[in-house]
Point group: C2
């Protein structure tokens, strides 16, 4: 994802959370912001340690190096490579990927040039004027895209906008739904109800181009001609390449030792929703505990000769120095 | 203790804490208040479930009752009795007791009538006028007592006040120390430096009365005559009766299973600083995890037939109802 925060930011940024101990209520976005603020004193000021918007594609164990040396070799989809002495996996429910329309022709290796799954609202500034844009979806993400495109019409010249959803009911924030309903009532946006069953592709060029969707509607099959299809069905997590890293898994989760949160591969730890152990509960507060114990265990594994003292922020001068208090 | 909050409130109420996840900084007292506010929707409005200012003296297992029935019988020092289906021990480092002067005659079963270890500043309104009061200690608690007594002199008539400490250096908040130093400079309080080694008791009555302390000072042994001795050496935790409850202990801590935080006695759980298990760290955030998993495990043990679904406060209508949101 393009920003830290995981599910809190990607799935429920504006929903109130009531079960983080000591915080009677906060939203997912607020919690992520507070955690980042709290971590800041311990992160280099240039932010060089945060690598965003890329998926770790491979993790290889280099047997030439013992534990605590550069034993792990990671590569991301963006081409970044890392040599690591230990790895803490906090992959949540997996990597977030945009949900796709599951119809033949759209799920091929070579996607049509005018089919768009971009992250969030990137590329919204594309020159759409004069074209027919179909936004598929009925949740916050689809409605926000429709609203953004309607606003872009003012500056970029009018495009024809269609919102495609399976039924006349949305799962979106009330204010967002009201705004989009207004656009539909005023005729600025056309609402089409139907479920895509097939598509018509033009494959004469080097890359296929989507010409139309065939919809199943209340009145039978109906074609929907279009120039661009923006699929906005929300995101869902997929385990992805992690399943190939040689970690013992149990029902798609990484089995860990609850004393250290170490996986079956020494030096690789797993914390949060991605792990499993007897008694596991997928709660934020459990992730905090797991990350803390994993950090202590990793520190001990990396520095086996150094005594590991538990320091308290109420009393430790060393921690006060790191926090910038003295 | 007379209020909930444990070590946070008793040991570091005003110290900033930086390591509760999601809260960049708060004091011990603030954290306890936030946690209580968060728990409030789940506690009966009349507060009937909070029993304060008493120590659990005994915990007996009634073998006539199976697990999940009224198997546990608890009695507190205040005479309160409880029949319980399960017990979660969160006794921290033990029960907080006032540190005593360790000299012969003061540590007997029958304490002198004029020796005072009262909790905090209770009984400060006693009629002290005309008497010689000796306050022993050099920390916040001792200095606050001296200050309170000096203020009481105004309304209750003057008493002679002595602060007894082993050296001319205090461990107290700067403003409190400044106020007491002012009282010493102006002669309202006499500072005596010395370490009590013995005491002189009048045992002619039904209860012994302390007449004097024998001090070891820089100039040798010296007597300190007094009418009342207020021992204000702070509090320290003692494991106390818990060690007699039949729970498996390891270095004065309750051994627990880290999947359930259940002790060696089925139905009795232990969370927070009182427990131990492989990897244990004595951190607030670990206590939150432990308490949560113990609550889930206890719920399952009490209702083995009922499916235990993990509910999220972001989405669960049942939790929203309990939180008073709908």
């Amino acid at each position: 994802l393009p920003e830290p925060g995981g599910q809190c930011v990607a799935l429920y940024p504006d929903k109130p959370i009531y079960d983080v101990p000591g915080i009677p209520v906060c939203t997912g976005r607020e919690l992520a912001a507070q955690l980042l603020a709290q971590a800041r004193p311990f992160v280099p000021a240039d932010g060089s340690t945060l690598h965003l918007n890329q998926q770790v594609m491979s993790l290889a164990v280099d047997d030439a190096h013992p534990l605590g040396k550069h034993r792990f070799h990671l590569k991301s989809g963006a081409g970044t490579e890392f040599m690591a002495r230990c790895v803490i996996v906090s992959a949540g429910a997996g990597a977030f990927v945009h949900k796709a329309l599951a119809i033949p022709g759209l799920d091929t290796a070579q996607a049509p040039a005018n089919l768009h799954h971009q992250l969030l609202n990137a590329n919204i500034a594309a020159p759409w004027a004069g074209q027919h844009l179909v936004v598929a979806g009925g949740g916050d993400e689809a409605l926000q895209t429709v609203l953004d495109l309607a606003n872009a019409n003012i500056t970029q010249g009018p495009a024809r906008l269609t919102l495609l959803h399976r039924r006349d009911q949305f799962q979106a924030e009330a204010s967002l739904e009201a705004a989009v309903r207004g656009l539909i009532s005023s005729g600025q946006v056309q609402l089409v109800l139907g479920v895509p069953q097939a598509c018509e592709l033009d494959t004469s060029g080097t890359q296929p181009v989507l010409r139309a969707l065939t919809l199943s509607t209340a009145d039978g099959a109906a074609p929907l001609m279009l120039d661009h299809l923006l699929v906005r069905l929300g995101m869902s997590p997929k385990l992805g390449p992690l399943s190939e890293w040689g970690l013992a898994l149990e029902r798609k989760q990484v089995s860990v030792n609850p004393s250290t949160f170490e996986s079956s591969v020494p030096g690789i730890y797993a914390v949060g929703d991605i792990n499993t152990y007897p008694g596991k509960k997928r709660l934020l507060l459990c992730g905090f505990h797991e990350a803390t114990l994993a950090a202590h265990a990793a520190s001990l594994a990396l520095h086996p000769e150094t005594p590991q003292h538990l320091l308290y922020t109420t009393t430790s001068p060393l921690l006060h120095q790191r926090l910038g208090l003295i």
